[in-house]
Symmetry: D2
Subunit: 343 residues, 4 copies
């Protein structure tokens, strides 16, 4: 029987919040080689609602991990629970896909990675930009030498909405949002490592929450081992739409990628020529989410190499932690100090 | 149980050629509310190969139509067989989706439409451009009054490859290729009907086959009941990629849609700034194919109105026939003469 | 002394209307190798006003042609007077630049061309699109073989404003507006000649003037000697700005050119991503006007070859006359019949 | 007499190098309200050559400043001479236009500004980006409230060629190149002042000259008084063309501006869709240079307000000096420390 006709990977999903709902729906409907069996959540009601909507079973977390028919777990729970859930899933013998960030500290990350290695299960982390068509095309050009050596990079994330500033923990912009940009920069920069990080950050969108620690706007610069210099930039309030873009300038050319106006329709009127934008990550990045899950299932079913693993996720986390330290200390921070726990 | 959890529509597909292979694969993997049960073909081997690849049953055409579990038939057989297969499928009580053109003559089209009406089954025809994201967005703007009254329209199709000029029947460019543009123009022009058609056509790509009747390049102009004037343009040899675009200019604005370089990645080098193109209809239009099948299944399962029906397909065919007559007669041809069978 | 330091060409301009005012200003200020000496008009007041504005002399037409210091005449008078003014200027020994159309009939055109040849003076006609940066770049690519043989061409002109429909003679859209497109198509199509012309035209912008003969919207198709097929399209009412574009598809590629939003600034807001447009030919095409005058002065001063001559202008006029005949007769018209005066 | 017919401003230019040659040519040919009388240089031969080419007088610097008919001086000499030449020109009673940077230190800048104030002559500094069509359009949108409060800004300059790395003094990338970006950011950020500056810089293009102090790649971040965060980025080796762009993101929208492929022609081939770029500042920015000179002449002749004055130039210089200090000290530097001379 041809590989295509192999049975889909039987998946249990943990975390029935906003992104969990999107991912569960994608797994149930848009990922041909996935078969969503059940959803669990720390709370009963969200799991029940989502399960009903998709016609799958709901379960408690423990129950889901105990379920033998579940081959792989997709973790979309609260970030603070990620590392522990990775370890528990691995120990239960499940292949693991975890949303970013994989952990909130390097110690946690190490423990989660070790648990997967011990259990011999694959671990993929949700850096979906690598699976977006234009990001992948740009990466292919870089890998093929099409821009020479990367020298100046830029990645940005701008989210249209900051619904509830009081609910945003101080480090969120670094560990939740910019961590995507840090991974994209590491990946696009051909595997060079980060050496030094400087960050400016402020509460410009909701200044009344600044004293409570809110950072809603950040500008991070990074120096890499290959000498390349990079910017990562984020805002929690892009009025014009969800904006994810990157640019890599090298010794022999440049690639640019991403747009909040991803399709080609243009409206020409007395106001000018207008392209429409999309307003959520799940609209803008839907296909890349489906693609990362397809890749994960291919790893689980056919042993394809892990596309974005624990070491990748830890490297992005190191930059996030260095950026947080830089804001606190008002100076650039070396990543090796973060690694050594001395920054 | 919520509508989303309704069982998918059980489909049998007839015609295991190039587009049939694409559509069967899409139905099996990328259309959540479709369940491909079986594929048939006039020849045994292609059906068997495709069925094996997708892990579904293969069947003879008769057998497939007799199969009670099949609710709906998707026809991707040779165009000359379309009308008859529509009628047979309808008579067998199946909902029908047929690739364009629905028929090769108006008489055939009428018979196929009548058969579906008699049997009380829905008929959808494969004008997938209506389901492409940017075309749909443009249509929404037109319908919402965003460009006023359409006055000048343009639609074009350019295919990268003319593999075997000797195998192309004379009217192909009109009945197979431009029929997409004729439907797009009718749809974008807010339902106005075609009044008069003029066409120039030639064998410019493969002039050595001109005497054998090949037409590989065509330029058709159409006058509509609302006074709007339109161009439809096709070529069988676009070196730069598969190109499907349209433009609608109205009294209060314009919409443009389509691009052979559909994603936003750009490569900047000493050669300039370059966007990559795609080279096949199935690459360029894949999502619109999946979307038209999803709409069809929604009609079958939930009685949603038919999106592109027999009357639509017949209107596009009338323009194609008028264009063929115009080339033969070297003058503009009135569509009512085509309807009356006197042109 | 270096060529650059040669004295500028001493110019007299005839016709102080809208375009004459633009051209006189351009000659006085933006064409380094031109020196505007005087302006004349059939009426005294406009000439006086314009002369005062620019600090040059005003003169009667006869007086201007008699003035020895005037080396070259730029004709921006009413179109019906063009041919006669060309002949008179040539007879007076002046180099001649004439706005399009050079004449209203082929007989007039022949007489004007003959007068220039007899007098041994250069004649350039105002097809400024050839001097627009992007049109010139596209032409260079075509000439260099970058798209192979042209097969399908398109050129369009859309003007934002139809101020006074009652003042527009019936053939205006062909002889005044589309004549630019006819010249562009002839030029971009590597010198092939027009064989056959079909035109649809209507009063869609101001239908209440249709009975008075107004044609404000036109769609012309042309078959050329090299087999290429072309569309020329015009409207007198583009709500979104002045729109001049062209596209040439060939056996090995395509070039596209022109945009009503010519600069790169984009405004991203809740409405989407917007580029601003310009609303007049003199805003959109200003630089190409200055460039055509610079080329003309180079011909006058240094004997550089005429860039757009009488034969070019006559070929565009033939297509315009064929399009007018096509609309009147409701059928395609052969250009050789126009040439022979029998269409 | 109308203002337009006022006599042009009589200009003497000092500095016949690359940019001086461009500017002298622009003044002689493309700035209607300028009249280039003479060019001077510290060396006789370049002045003589340029004067001959343009058909104007050549002069010694002293001689030019003594010449009564010269109303205004344009300084395009070596940067280290700028401040002194501004002062000498002012003392001689001439209006002054000086290329950037106006000075190499704040003390020098203050002296030059004081000299102009004392003499009562206008001083304009050559920040031509403010006069580029798309930058001006973006600024107008920002000023009109079209993007709300600026929060994240970016400006970049990438030059295609680093001909002779050994001839580039260490601070060049900050004082010569990025100073354009610093001015653009100050101007686009609605007049907010810079508070703190961090810079990474390296020799990535010509690493073999790093020990000699070469910095050919730089990434500067700036925090402003209004909380906005900005990036300025430069490279001395853009393989794809001269690249000047900016982006301003605000609370209610964004503007983007600039492109190395400034016209709309696109070439579609088997390689994709390609736009051509330009390769020099004088090609890319020619019109903005002519426009800044036109504005200067308007100030001199009609007393129009100075568009970019000494205080503007000093503010940009302060950021450059802070960036240099930041690279040297490996930490962010406060601009008030630079102002106080203590950083």
């Amino acid at each position: 029987m041809a590989p295509n006709a192999d049975p889909p990977v039987r998946i249990g999903l943990i975390g029935a919040g906003r992104i969990g709902t999107h991912h569960a729906t994608a797994l149930a409907r848009h990922v041909p080689n996935a078969d969503l069996l059940a959803v669990a959540d720390a709370f009963e009601e969200p799991a029940r609602r989502l399960a009903r909507e998709l016609g799958v079973r709901d379960a408690g977390i423990e129950e889901l991990l105990d379920e033998e028919s579940v081959e792989a777990v997709v973790i979309t729970a609260s970030s603070t629970a990620h590392a522990e859930l990775i370890a528990r899933s691995a120990t239960a013998g499940k292949a693991v896909f975890c949303e970013k960030p994989m952990a909130m500290s390097l110690t946690e990350a190490d423990a989660a990675i070790a648990a997967c290695q011990e259990a011999g299960v694959p671990l993929q982390v949700g850096f979906n930009r690598r699976f977006a068509t234009d990001f992948a095309a740009a990466h292919a050009i870089i890998s093929g030498g099409g821009i020479g050596s990367p020298q100046l990079l830029r990645s940005l994330t701008r989210d249209p909405g900051l619904a509830n500033p009081s609910a945003v923990p101080p480090s969120t912009i670094f560990t939740q949002t910019l961590i995507h940009d840090f991974d994209a920069l590491l990946w696009l920069n051909s595997g060079a490592a980060a050496v030094e990080v400087h960050a400016f950050a402020d509460a410009l969108v909701a200044p009344e929450f600044k004293d409570a620690g809110l950072l809603d706007t950040a500008l991070v610069t990074i120096r890499f081992t290959n000498g390349a210099l990079a910017t990562a930039e984020a805002s929690f309030s892009a009025s014009y739409g969800y904006d994810v873009r990157a640019e890599v300038f090298g010794s022999a050319g440049m690639v640019t990628m991403g747009s909040p106006a991803p399709h080609t329709m243009q409206h020409w009127s007395a106001d000018g020529v207008t392209r429409r934008t999309v307003r959520s990550d799940t609209d803008l990045m839907h296909e890349s989410y489906a693609a990362e899950f397809a890749a994960f299932c291919d790893t689980v079913r056919h042993g394809a190499p892990v596309t974005v693993g624990g070491a990748d996720a830890k490297a992005a986390l190191e930059i996030a932690l260095a950026a947080i330290a830089s804001v606190e200390q008002g100076r650039p921070v070396r990543v090796d100090a973060i690694r050594a726990g001395v920054a």
